[in-house]
């Protein structure tokens, strides 16, 4: 009784104290621990059941949860949208605002290595085999000082650790196939893993004699060896490739001009050229040494080499040769105190071809030459982070992070304090708080390999993140969370949220490099039921408001959605059949009022917001056990099975105002879609 009253009180005092030193609104983040479970013939083993080092600032998704989520196609990164606080930009497009922070401020990591993009062609399958990802931690704010350089959230996927038994998984779908296999060696001291995905879209397009080529693939490989009981080395290599091109007959005159004009165009043979529409690739090699201390604790030293490249239309080309080093040590000092210290440096050498003059509108060329500029960027930093447990039911995690950013001749420094805490009032009731300052160099609206804004144009982006809440274990294996958050943003690059124009027109607006301030606050509610139940599922709801300030003008962010709700249900029909559905609902985006360009012009005025959107995703699975540990499954899945179409804006008429004549031009909806992704495939593993 004492604890159940003491800790809520302590939690409130904690929030107030933190509020006094800078945070504005107590807020919340939740944690979701994952328990082992048996799901029909699929044996699910979840490791690291409870993160004793923290758990105050992140949500976690286990592989088994992701696999059963309709419309996620088994991709952990796509599944993050079920987390409260995530606001979609557009249905089916896996880019999100996280507690008001734009998609470009959300960082993605795979086993500690930065990933420049997550999905083939932005909305296709994930660039890393889902079966390689054991767990996905979603840090929405106030995260530990070990993480940084993103002003919004961080999604950190943890690779499945090396296994002592050979295992593999594979999937065959209508458009691609992928798989993964891992084999131990040296009596289990080592393991070798290889995986990848290959699309047959290129072959399909060739069969259809199409001039367009669409091709994607990815690869992952890991070799790990434990040369002592306490020391292991591993090399993780992964990468992805996307390519969309169009073949066309070259204009002989243009060809002749390219050769200096000395050739008679009429004598040139017919030539087909392949024009890039969109191509991108990234490659990563991460070599690491892990050591466990006899007295407890661990250290990791790692080096990363990477290469990124993006090519887009009009001969735009950006690339980045990345080298990085990082070292960290985590050591329990006493039973109640664990200290985590680390440092890292990342050097990005950006190159490529800047958008040539005259390749597009002059203002677009000028802006994009700033983005595609050749230069060297670096980020070096260090952090110290302590996990303090004065009582078994109480955890406080202060941290401090210092970063130096450089790009070309520009340099900037950042000192980011962090603080999170968890109070276990009872075994079934927990209070959480997470506060922090997060800093990031200027960013583009979405992540693309080899492309960032150069020379720290406009300065660093900063956010002050505050959150707090409560989590309760309920009867019938339900867990519920309620939290509030309030984030403040400074020097933000939020072209999407501030452009006040259609998504496709952003390139033409000044907002690509413009800065804004802003804030976001809201309420998040979540409830889940354990996967081990016959009927399982979750509910996620976010009530929020996101504001931007630009040129002393306050307005609602372009992707502010007041209500975002997801309802997921999955039911075990028996005989290894499982059916599931996901219902997604969200409020439309605000639409700016049209301003006439001159007094004699009348412009149609759209509604204040686009209509709400809702869709239904479905999933059906049948599994068969094969042998002792093998399984095969047939999976039919559809994102947006209801073929819902989304209104993204309005096209409004303009009329001239004639004397004595009343003018009332109207508006028509701009509709996208339906963006619907059906998928039928066979999965298997052993």
């Amino acid at each position: 009784l004492l604890r159940s009253t003491l800790f809520p009180l302590a939690s409130a005092i904690f929030a107030c104290l933190v509020g006094l030193v800078g945070a504005t609104t107590p807020a919340y983040a939740q944690t979701q621990t994952t328990d082992g479970q048996s799901l029909g013939p699929e044996e699910v083993t979840v490791r690291g059941v409870k993160d004793l080092r923290g758990g105050a600032s992140e949500d976690s998704l286990a592989r088994a949860e992701v696999r059963q989520l309709p419309g996620a196609f088994g991709d952990p990164w796509r599944a993050v949208e079920i987390t409260p606080g995530f606001t979609p930009v557009l249905s089916g497009i896996p880019y999100f605002y996280v507690r008001g922070a734009p998609p470009g401020n959300v960082g993605y990591y795979f086993d500690g290595v930065r990933v420049p993009y997550l999905f083939h062609f932005g909305l296709g399958p994930a660039v890393v085999q889902p079966s390689l990802i054991a767990r996905t931690d979603i840090h929405k704010g106030g995260y530990p000082a070990t993480l940084g350089r993103w002003a919004g959230g961080i999604v950190d996927a943890t690779a499945m650790p090396p296994q002592e038994q050979a295992h593999g998984e594979g999937v065959f779908r209508a458009i691609d196939a992928g798989g993964l296999i891992e084999v131990p060696f040296a009596n289990g001291k080592g393991s070798a893993l290889a995986g990848g995905r290959y699309s047959y879209t290129a072959a399909l397009f060739t069969l259809l004699a199409s001039d367009t080529t669409l091709d994607y693939r990815d690869y992952q490989a890991r070799i790990a060896y434990a040369f002592t009981d306490r020391d292991s080395v591993s090399l993780l290599v992964f990468g992805a490739y996307d390519n969309a091109t169009q073949k066309e007959l070259a204009d002989p005159q243009a060809l002749a001009a390219q050769s200096g004009g000395s050739v008679d165009p009429s004598k040139l043979p017919q030539t087909r050229i392949e024009r890039t529409l969109f191509s991108s690739e990234f490659h990563r090699a991460d070599l690491r040494w892990d050591h466990t201390f006899a007295s407890g604790g661990q250290t990791r030293v790692a080096a990363t080499l990477g290469f990124d490249r993006t090519r887009v239309e009009a001969r735009r080309d950006g690339d980045d040769l990345m080298t990085g080093f990082r070292a960290s040590i985590e050591k329990p000092i006493v039973k109640q105190l664990i200290v985590n210290v680390g440092a890292d440096v990342t050097i990005d050498q950006f190159g490529g071809s800047p958008l040539p003059a005259y390749a597009d509108d002059d203002d677009i060329v000028a802006r994009q030459q700033k983005i595609f500029a050749e230069r060297t960027d670096y980020a070096a930093g260090g952090w110290v982070d302590a996990i303090i447990r004065p009582l078994p039911e109480m955890m406080v995690r202060p941290g401090l992070r210092y970063d130096v950013f450089g790009s070309g001749s520009a340099q900037a420094k950042a000192l980011d304090p962090r603080l999170s805490a968890r109070f276990d009032a009872t075994k079934k009731l927990r209070f959480f708080h997470a506060y922090g300052v997060a800093t990031q160099p200027p960013s583009t609206p979405v992540l693309l390999p080899g492309i960032t804004i150069a020379n720290l144009e406009g300065g660093l982006q900063r956010s002050v993140q505050t959150s707090g809440g409560v989590e309760a274990d309920l009867p019938e294996d339900f867990t519920a969370t309620v939290s509030v958050f309030h984030n403040a943003f400074f020097g933000l690059n939020d072209a999407l949220g501030t452009a006040q124009v259609e998504l496709t027109d952003i390139e033409k607006s000044q907002t690509l490099l413009a800065k804004s301030r802003g804030s976001a606050y809201g309420l998040e509610v979540g409830a889940r039921r354990k996967l081990s139940r016959k009927l399982t599922g979750l509910v996620a709801y976010t009530l929020s408001r996101s504001i931007r300030t630009q040129d002393n003008h306050d307005f609602v962010s372009g992707y502010d959605r007041t209500h975002v709700a997801t309802l997921v249900a999955s039911y075990d029909l028996g005989r290894n059949w499982r059916v599931g559905g996901r219902y997604v609902f969200y409020t439309g985006v605000p639409i700016a009022r049209n301003v006439p360009q001159f007094p004699e012009q009348a412009v149609g005025q759209p509604p204040e917001r686009t209509p709400f959107f809702h869709r239904l995703d479905l999933r059906l699975e049948k599994r068969w056990r094969v042998g002792k540990s093998g399984w095969v499954a047939f999976v039919a899945e559809a994102l947006n099975a209801t073929l819902s179409r989304e209104v993204t804006g309005y096209r409004c008429a303009r009329e001239l105002i004639f004397p004595g004549v009343t003018s009332a031009p109207g508006c028509v909806e701009r509709v996208v879609g339906p963006i619907s992704v059906p998928s039928i495939g066979v999965e298997g593993g052993f």
Partner: protein
């Protein structure tokens, strides 16, 4: 070094982009010397020796068109092709730029004028009221306001060119060569100059003699303001008479004209009978392409003749 290392260590496999280098075309629509500076007496001498000052000129410009009539894929450009749909005073000019063009000939160049609509904006030297003035009533795409002086006589000329009767599509722009050539990684500039002197020509010809006499004589209400309605009130034959009368020595009334006009005839095949329509038809010859060329060919993008 960086690239070599990257190529050696990493299997980067995105293919090279074979897209051809791109160039740009710029079209400066502006006033000719006569539009900018007016017409001194020498322009009318020795026929009727008036001096014309330009007070206001408005053009409702839609867009320049580039391409090859029989090859719609040619000369396609990227971007907005700014600045189009604008009402402007050619003495201040308006520039339209097309970027992202492959190096090639674009033989069919023209431009379109159009009475303003809701998407038209005021450009240099124009106001929103000017846009409305052209759009309201019988929509027009050009307006010219001049002052003509001779001895103690002063006339104001206010001509509003309605789109229904006035040529508004100008194709086949030709100077030294037909059309324009896009050069890779360069911007090629062309000019389209509007010449107000065209409206004073006695024939439909860019080199015709200029006369103000028929305009002065058309001032039926003697308010010293000459409008298109007044020009529509006289026939071409009357205009020719007025032109001839203007060259009769005032000290010898009834004498023969010193420099009689043989102009003011409709073009072959034309049904023009009114002086107002004759002046409107001069619009087709009022633009010079690259200083000495013209845009009097087919409509842009079609094989249709101009109206």
């Amino acid at each position: 070094m960086k690239r070599a290392l990257a190529a050696l260590l990493l299997a980067s496999c995105v293919p090279a982009d074979h897209a051809l280098p791109l160039g740009s075309l710029e079209f400066d629509v502006k006033g000719s010397h006569t539009t900018n500076e007016g017409l001194p007496t020498t322009f009318f001498a020795p026929f009727d020796e008036w001096t014309v000052h330009v007070k206001r000129v408005l053009l409702a410009f839609k867009t320049v068109t580039i391409g090859e009539t029989n090859n719609p894929d040619k000369c396609s450009y990227r971007g907005r092709g700014a600045i189009s749909d604008v009402v402007f005073d050619p003495r201040y000019g308006n520039t339209q730029i097309f970027n992202g063009l492959e190096a090639s000939d674009c033989p069919d160049v023209g431009f379109v004028m159009q009475s303003p609509d809701g998407n038209t904006v005021p450009g240099a030297g124009a106001t929103g009221a000017d846009v409305v003035m052209l759009a309201e009533g019988n929509p027009a795409h050009a307006y010219v306001e001049l002052t003509a002086e001779k001895d103690a006589q002063v006339y104001e000329v206010k001509l509003r060119f309605d789109t229904l009767k006035t040529p508004s599509r100008f194709g086949g722009c030709t100077a030294a060569e037909k059309g324009v050539r896009v050069v890779a990684e360069k911007r090629t500039t062309s000019s389209i100059e509007f010449a107000v002197d065209a409206f004073f020509r006695e024939t439909l010809d860019a080199n015709a003699v200029l006369r103000f006499g028929p305009f002065a004589g058309a001032d039926a209400n003697h308010d010293k303001v000459i409008t298109m309605d007044e020009l529509d009130a006289i026939t071409l034959e009357q205009a020719r008479t007025l032109a001839n009368n203007a060259t009769i020595d005032p000290n010898e009334p009834g004498s023969a004209p010193r420099n009689p006009s043989d102009g003011y005839h409709p073009a072959p095949g034309s049904t023009i009978t009114l002086f107002g329509d004759f002046v409107r038809a001069q619009m087709k010859f009022a633009f010079f392409f690259d200083v000495y060329g013209s845009c009097i060919g087919d409509d842009p993008g079609t094989n249709q003749d101009n109206p």
